[in-house]
Amino acid sequence: MLSINDRVSLSLRILMKNTFAKVRPFLTAAIALAAVTAFSRPALAQLNVVTSTTDLADIAKSVGGAHVNVKHIGEGYQDPHFVEAKPSFVLQLRNADVWAFVGLDLEIGWMPLLLDGARNPKIRLGGSGYLDVSSVIPVLDRPSGNVDRSQGDVHPLGNPHYWLDPDNGKRIAHLFQTKFSQLDPGNSAAYQSNERAFDAKLDAAMRALVPALAKIKDQPVVAWHTSWRYFAEYTHMNIVGFMEPKPGVPPSPSHLAGLIQTMRRTNAKVIVMEPFYDRKTADFVASRTGAKVLILPPSVGGIRSVNDYIGLLTYDITQLASTF
């Protein structure tokens, strides 16, 4: 004779067995679906990409296409060294899958505050979305000896203004393609295709600029800041002096006197500067040397008509060539 407890236990076991038999097909299907989902390479809805500059943002959009949602922190018409770490930027970074930045300490004055504030492990150093773009760049002006602050606001890791060389633009695009493919393997083919299209478009634009580049080659110019060094490497314009006596240090009268002498000696007739520096000082030097002050956007959006990376390079090269 079964006790009440035994009867209850037996009833429960029968109920569970019957129930399991009914749900087994669904359970099997669910497990199979989960396994397929887990081991397949699904395409994500959209990768959230935040970049420090407009140039990186434009290249990221070109490579990512419709599969990425790209935002940027700095604007093309502001000095990228002095972006303010506004809390509203923290909100952008909080949900980012990728944080792409120029590196080489360009963003050191504001990036740490934003990354700490965002509390997003994915975009911290070592996270899957932490993308130091300078890691694929052959860097210029890396100091070979000792450096200290008596040399101005030096970048001990090298010159960070590398995006103005189109070859570096391709390196950046390739890096984005690799990173996006790693995080979103389901759309890898699209990213590779987009990268090839970007490269082809950039190559075509540069081929069209060959006559302009020929006019620029070896022409002596003065630049405000070291931000035009990579541009000079590509175009072979000859930077004979800088308006800043040392990186980040405003021009002093004695430095300007020496610079004027240098410009006269080298016959430099162009002063290249960014839209965010004070033009009055450059105008003064130009008035003493007969040079022309040429304001060139260093980044996408630096002036209203320049709204993509290839357009930026095209604009800067054609404007500079038109002065010779």
Binding site: E75, Y77, Q78, D79, F82, E84, A85, K86, P87, S88, V90, L91, R94, I108, G109, W110, M111, L113, D116, G117, R119, P121, R124, L125, G126, S135, V136, P138, L140, D141, S144, R149, G152, D153, L157, D167, K170, R171, A173, H174, L175, T178, E195, R196, D199, A200, D203, R229, E233, V240, G241, F242, G248, V249, P250, T262, P275, F276, Y277, D278
Partner: protein, 406 residues
């Protein structure tokens, strides 16, 4: 310098040409488009920039001169002094925490732990926890290191209601960011060991934090809104409450504890602060403006249980105070600022203390600052006469580039 730059450029151009040739050989063929994008792998690796995992070491010097016509107004009466040297050691501790240690060295306090805290780096849901000693998140200016202020000293309302050199606490800090209304909001909660420094001269029968309710608790809600790309404001509210030692007279002797001359009474400070900023992005190197104001009210416990025969010498009323500060950028390196302070001064029995000050700031670089200030300090007439103060300040920082304060 330029000649050497030119030589360096030439050698670097050669090395870049070599890299490009390598990329062409290694990457171009594989990609089938010899003129196209170079692969990242062709770039020679430079290795980690900090292979020994050393923390960042930095130092900030804060020098103050006092040329006030009727004598120095500094606590130690010096005309020129090193107010503080702050040493900072900062690094990631492990995958879960970051560590920050700030040591303060001054002639007045010798060496002290200004701040030392662990901060979590991997919590979900926008949470952050900080453990250790930190500047308390009460009001706007109190979370700024004194040498980073736009003025030479903290506003008087902070000096009187919180602490001369910024209120610090040792305990737990919990913070969460959220944006349900589309703008940045952050809630900061703390529980710390005590409210301010322990006064050496006051002895209570038991420590203020004997019960958990005697710990000091604070809350701050930050609301930050962008009005445009160049203008924004932050409107925040704060409160802090805890027990503090307050004097008794004439005092008494406890058979086991000895001489007692104080008891614990609750003190609460509530406040609100508003900061408006304007900085046009394109002219941001040369033009900016800040308008900032804070108001605080100090609420003091009045119904304290007095031992027989004792009278209470602590504050028996509430006090209100505040300040308004504005700073306009004149040039790339020059700023003009002004501040007006007014408060019911606890150090003057609640009488009105007022002060107006003007500041000329010059930044030779991001790493040094020179300030000249004039202040007209007007305490209640029954307490002291008005004073003219002339102050100078020089600060400098050594070590790695720190983020610019915002």
């Amino acid at each position: 310098m330029r000649d050497s730059t030119k030589q360096d450029s030439a050698s670097r151009a050669d090395s870049i040409a070599l890299v490009r040739e390598l990329e062409h050989l290694q990457g171009g063929a594989a990609r089938g488009d010899s003129g196209s994008a170079p692969p990242a792998a062709a770039i020679p690796s430079t290795g980690p920039t900090n292979p020994r995992l050393l923390p960042d070491f930095s130092a900030v010097g804060d020098l103050v001169g006092d040329l006030s016509p009727k004598g120095s107004t500094q606590p130690d009466q010096t005309r020129f002094g090193v107010r503080e040297v702050e040493l900072a050691i900062q690094a990631a501790v492990d995958p879960y925490f970051r560590g920050d240690v700030f040591l303060g060295i001054s002639d007045l306090e010798s060496i002290s732990i200004e701040q030392a805290y662990l901060t979590t780096t991997n919590l979900p849901y926008g949470l952050e926890v900080r453990l250790g000693r930190f500047l308390m998140p009460v009001g706007k200016e109190n979370t700024t290191h004194r040498h980073d202020l736009h003025t030479i000293e903290y506003p008087y309302v902070i000096q009187r209601f919180l602490s001369d050199d910024g209120l610090k606490g040792t305990g737990v800090w919990l913070s969460k960011i959220f944006s349900p209304f589309g703008f940045y909001q952050e809630l900061q909660l703390t529980a710390v060991d005590r409210f301010g420094d322990r006064p050496d001269s006051l002895i209570t029968p038991e420590p203020p934090n004997k019960e958990l309710g005697g710990l000091t608790y604070s809350a701050r809600l930050r609301n930050y809104v962008d009005l445009s790309e160049s203008t924004n404001f932050e409107l925040s509210a704060s409160a802090i409450s805890g027990k503090r030692e307050q004097p008794l007279s004439p005092g008494y002797t406890d058979p086991t504890l000895g001489a007692i001359n104080a008891l614990n009474a609750r003190q609460t400070v509530v406040g609100a602060d508003l900061t408006y900023r304007w900085r046009p992005l394109q002219q941001g190197l040369y033009k900016s403006f800040i308008l900032q104001g804070e108001v605080m009210r100090q609420l003091n416990e009045r119904d304290v249980d007095l031992p027989s025969g004792q009278s209470y010498d602590g504050p028996v009323r509430n006090y209100t105070g505040g300040y308004v500060f504005a700073r306009y950028q004149l040039t790339a390196r020059g700023f003009l600022g002004a501040r007006y302070d007014q408060l019911q001064d606890p150090m003057a029995a609640g009488g009105n203390t007022r002060a107006g000050s003007a500041y000329l700031e010059f930044f030779p670089s991001e790493f040094s600052k020179l300030v000249a200030a004039y202040e007209r300090y007007v305490p209640p007439s029954a307490v002291a006469a008005a004073t003219n103060r002339i102050l100078l300040q020089a600060t400098f920082s050594l070590g790695p580039h720190k983020p610019h304060p915002f």
